[in-house]
Amino acid sequence: MVDEKVTAVGPVRVHTISTDKYKTNTLVWKMKAPLAKETVTLRALLPYVLQSGTVDYPSVKALRTYLDELYGATLNVDLTKKGEDHIMTVRIDVANERFLPEQTPLLEKALQLLADLLFRPALEGGRFVEDIVAREKRALSQRIQAVYDDKMRYASMRLVQEMCKGEPYALSPNGELGDVDAITAEQLYRYYEQALAEDELDLYVIGDVDEETVLAAVKRRFSLPDRPQPARAPLAPAKARGEVNEVIERQDVKQGKLNIGYRTNVTYEDDDYYALQLFNGIFGGFSHSKLFINVREKASLAYYAASRLESHKGLLLVMSGIEPANYEKARRIIDEQMQAMKNGDFTDEEMAQTKAVIRNQLLETLDTPRGLVEVLYHNVVSTRKRPLDEWLAGTDGVMREDVVRVAEKVALDTVYFLTGMEGATEDGKTGV
């Protein structure tokens, strides 16, 4: 289904996926290390500093001018977490010159640029450029603060903070505001050297490419000393909770955000993984799911009411936006849907429907270079390897008793409600 070839070039796992369906070629570089309080902010800053200049193009302007010359190659970076790993990603996407009037070897140049960004950053006095670091610290602070102004993201972040207090997973991949100021150019450079020496490294090359050519080019430009395989960070054990943790927070908002966290006690590594996907699909993952039908369509309480999984950490997260006065009502309906799942109160039709939609979603994801990499990268993050055709067969093979078994393992952990200042009892203005 996807022709992924993996070859180790020193410590770098090079994944080439050869396909002629895109008009561009894509490079995705990933660096993985355990999520930890001590390094989270350094890691959040590092890729932004790296994308600000190289030895040959020592400023943002010079670098971006060069990217424009390469027919508007795009360069972007981001930070994510998967389970308790913190992942830095650098992506370069470049036009396939086949479609252009001029036959510049754009992929070669993009590979060279990626290598330069990683191994030949702009430096002064043996460390990162002071000015660049200062600017990127300011931008990072603004990025961390921005989440407070986006109430949907804010509520999701707060739920996870409350739910996973004391576990690494409570950390935001964008780092901690309080730690930004103290970072120095020198300290960041030392961390950069450490990350290059210790992180797990993966490079994906997707497009109209020849594997041998790519490997030769990578060998020329990405030669790093070998390193011991890092020990896998064990998942922090979830604290046993006697009772459900309920957190209510008030702000000057018109819409309440009701976010609910459950421990699924099933992860990507487990046999029940596919059943968990089915469970989430029937419960809240799609527009035919119980949450959408009952919270939105039947009770008219919300515009969005959905759930998603963090499969590597074993969390099920529900999110909805409701009138503050409807808190109890919405909670009750969500609880009822969870109970219905545990009781096996779903039809064979819902099973079939959800399987069809999951299959569709997976195949669609494979149609974009970015989606493709994200799917394949699961196999790097987890010790359990799941080839793509197994995803389809695995989903297909799930029986209703499997879903019920998973449902029984799902435990309510934390309820988080962001609501207005007026008090949750006041009558909402919206007629329902």
């Binding site: 008009k23 561009t24 000057d252 069809a356 007629g431």
Partner: protein, 429 residues
Amino acid sequence: MEKRVYETLQEALFYEKMDNGLDVYILPKKGFHKTYATFTTNYGSVDNQFVPLGKSEMKRVPDGIAHFLEHKLFEKEDGDVFQQFSKQGASANAFTTFTRTAYLFSSTDNVEKNLETLMDFVQTPYFSDKTVEKEKGIIGQEIRMYDDNPDWRVYFGAIESMYHHHPVKIDIAGTIESIAEITKELLYECYETFYHPSNMLLFVVGPVDEQKMMQQIRDNQAKKSFPQAPEVKRFVYEEPSGVAEKKKVIPMHVQTNKCFVGIKAPSVPNAGGQKLRHELAFHVLLDYLFGKSSPHYERLYREGLIDDTFMYDYTEEREFGFALVGGDTRDAERLAAEVQEVLRSFSADAVQKDELERVKKKKMGAFLRALNSPEYIANQFTRYAFYGASLFDILPALSSLALDDIAAVADSCFRDSQIAVCEVVPKGQ
């Protein structure tokens, strides 16, 4: 069926006009799993005054009704069309813009069935008093969600500042008060006026057999009957060319300031290649001034006035066009002043030829990248088609874009009378 080949892009597009006036386009994409189809009407939030089908008087309808209609079309007597699509493994959705309402699905399986479902559900309205009332709660929450979203507020605030009368200044979803006035009778009236096949376009992109698919569409349309429809008469708003108010400040419970500078085009070409060219010239000009490789970007970033939320974009629809420049900032007033200074001091004579060429190159690469996306192709092709231009003419239009085109845009738009500012600031500041 007509075949249009685009050699450089290595794409072939198939077109046919159905007997009932519906325009159908199919773009086969081998190698993809997904088929993406949009069924779009040339009707959006700005169409709030028109002569209903079969009537002669101009009528004003409640704000937000096009979007409300979009929601309601999914519900049928025997349930919800989402259910039907998901049984067939598809994901379905819809969206309403200022000038369009689009219904869509994407699926990797059962494409024929899903296409049939798409055509049939859009062409079989069913509205009842009960379901109309129920939808008011859901859309009420959608409106509330946007009320709390500072990015949306600053975006719309800037548009409100620019326009005196034109309904582009009205939120696409309307208000809780305006949607309260919506009835099933009004929905039917809007539906019958704007959802006539002659006002619609169907676009399919994916690994499909164009012959079989076109035949399926012909058969489907032949089964249905529609009255003769004259061209829709829309109200023509008398919009002054300059902005309505210079500055708007919205205090909100936020930590970061947000600022957009709006640039209102005093007029825009109404159709065809001229319109495409005008739009591209505006995009290239903005990129030249504010792109990451521009001196202005570097300076503003270095001074901490912008961060990675900084954006610039130009929107052009039927009879209006406006640009927005801005993002999160620690000092909204200074950012607004700086951006305005960049516009004010622009001189076409000082434009470096090679820099302009570089921006054009960048735009070409971006266009190729966008063609990886079936969503982009279908949505943008439809937008261009509704004003008589073609998405696939972008590359040649970009190549031939000259300094004169850019100078003309700057000359008409970079004037104090065309500029408005909107800021979102922390409450109490």
